[in-house]
């Protein structure tokens, strides 16, 4: 067992590498919250009280092993969900942040951020490679808020179980 778990690696790498996400005007920086999944906060609190424009949550993985025939696992493939949530802001009047538009900006930045941490440092423990395997978007109207949500599946492959 190593000191830094993969969730922390993903969280730290993405949150530090994401760079500036801008609002609709392409100039003003959006406020982005990176947080582990399953926190106690709620949409309206985060987006309209705390005034975040983008909320990115980091969840627990689905894992599978890769092995030779009838052999011990050689690699573990851990698929970490990174969920990007955006809403239309403000709730009334001209939009400053369009939730759907923000999704692409974040997806674009996320791809660059993951590419920058795609491989562990030489001789690091654990050694890993990190890729974005897929993403899936949903849109829903919940509690009077229009919510755009994309789950990016980041696959963390390692030989260190």
């Amino acid at each position: 067992m190593v000191a830094t778990d993969p969730l922390t690696t993903v969280f730290t790498g993405v949150s530090t590498g994401l760079g500036v996400i801008t609002k609709n005007d392409g100039l003003a920086a959006a406020s982005v919250l990176h947080v582990w999944q399953y926190g106690p906060e709620a949409f309206k609190h985060l987006f309209y009280d705390e005034d975040y424009d983008v909320v990115i949550t980091y969840g627990l993985p689905q894992s599978r092993s890769q092995r030779n025939i009838q052999s011990v696992p050689l690699h573990y493939m851990m698929s970490y969900p990174v969920t990007v949530t955006t809403v239309d802001k403000p709730m009334a009047g001209a939009l400053v942040c369009h939730g759907m538009r923000m999704q692409y900006k974040v997806a674009y930045a996320l791809r660059a951020a993951v590419a920058s941490i795609a491989q562990s440092a030489p001789a690091a423990t654990p050694a890993y490679t990190l890729t974005i395997k897929s993403d899936a978007s949903t849109y829903k109207r919940v509690g009077g808020i229009y919510v755009y949500e994309t789950v990016h599946s980041l696959e963390y492959e390692t030989d260190n179980g």
């Binding site: 999944q37 106690p40 309206k44």
Partner: protein, 129 residues
């Protein structure tokens, strides 16, 4: 400030409610700390503002019918999280509605995602006549 006592009394039937207050963010997870406290309708000041709003929402969303009342069960739907702050009803809480005492039997969160609860349905079972 003294806040809107009629807001509570007009709907008035909650007896024991536990409030949940968000605190500073954790350095690792970035999630806020949570502290719990008892809801006190007699001590209703600015600090309890969020609680008062939330309580109103809870009571305004009681869904019931004659059949529910006679069957001894009652459902409460609440919008947790779409207003500032939160109020948590846990399994030890009791709710008095139309002079009948109910206890929380179960809760459902049909739209639970991202760790942010959308709607929650609280199922209550009758404990007294």
């Amino acid at each position: 400030m003294s806040f809107a006592t009629p807001l509570i009394l007009s709907v008035g039937e909650i007896v024991y409610i536990q409030t949940r207050i968000l605190g500073a963010r954790n350095a690792v997870t970035n999630q806020p700390a949570v502290t719990y406290g008892a809801f006190d309708p007699d001590d209703f000041d600015e600090d309890d503002f969020f609680v008062s709003i939330k309580t109103k929402i809870i009571m305004n969303h009681i869904q019931t019918s004659e059949q529910d009342l006679h069957g001894g069960r009652l459902s409460v739907e609440r919008q947790q999280g779409f207003l500032p702050g939160t109020v948590s009803v846990n399994h030890m809480d009791r709710v008095e509605y139309h002079d009948i005492l109910y206890e929380v039997e179960s809760t459902e969160t049909p739209e639970y995602h991202l760790g942010q609860v959308g709607f929650q349905k609280i199922n209550l079972v009758r404990m007294s006549e």
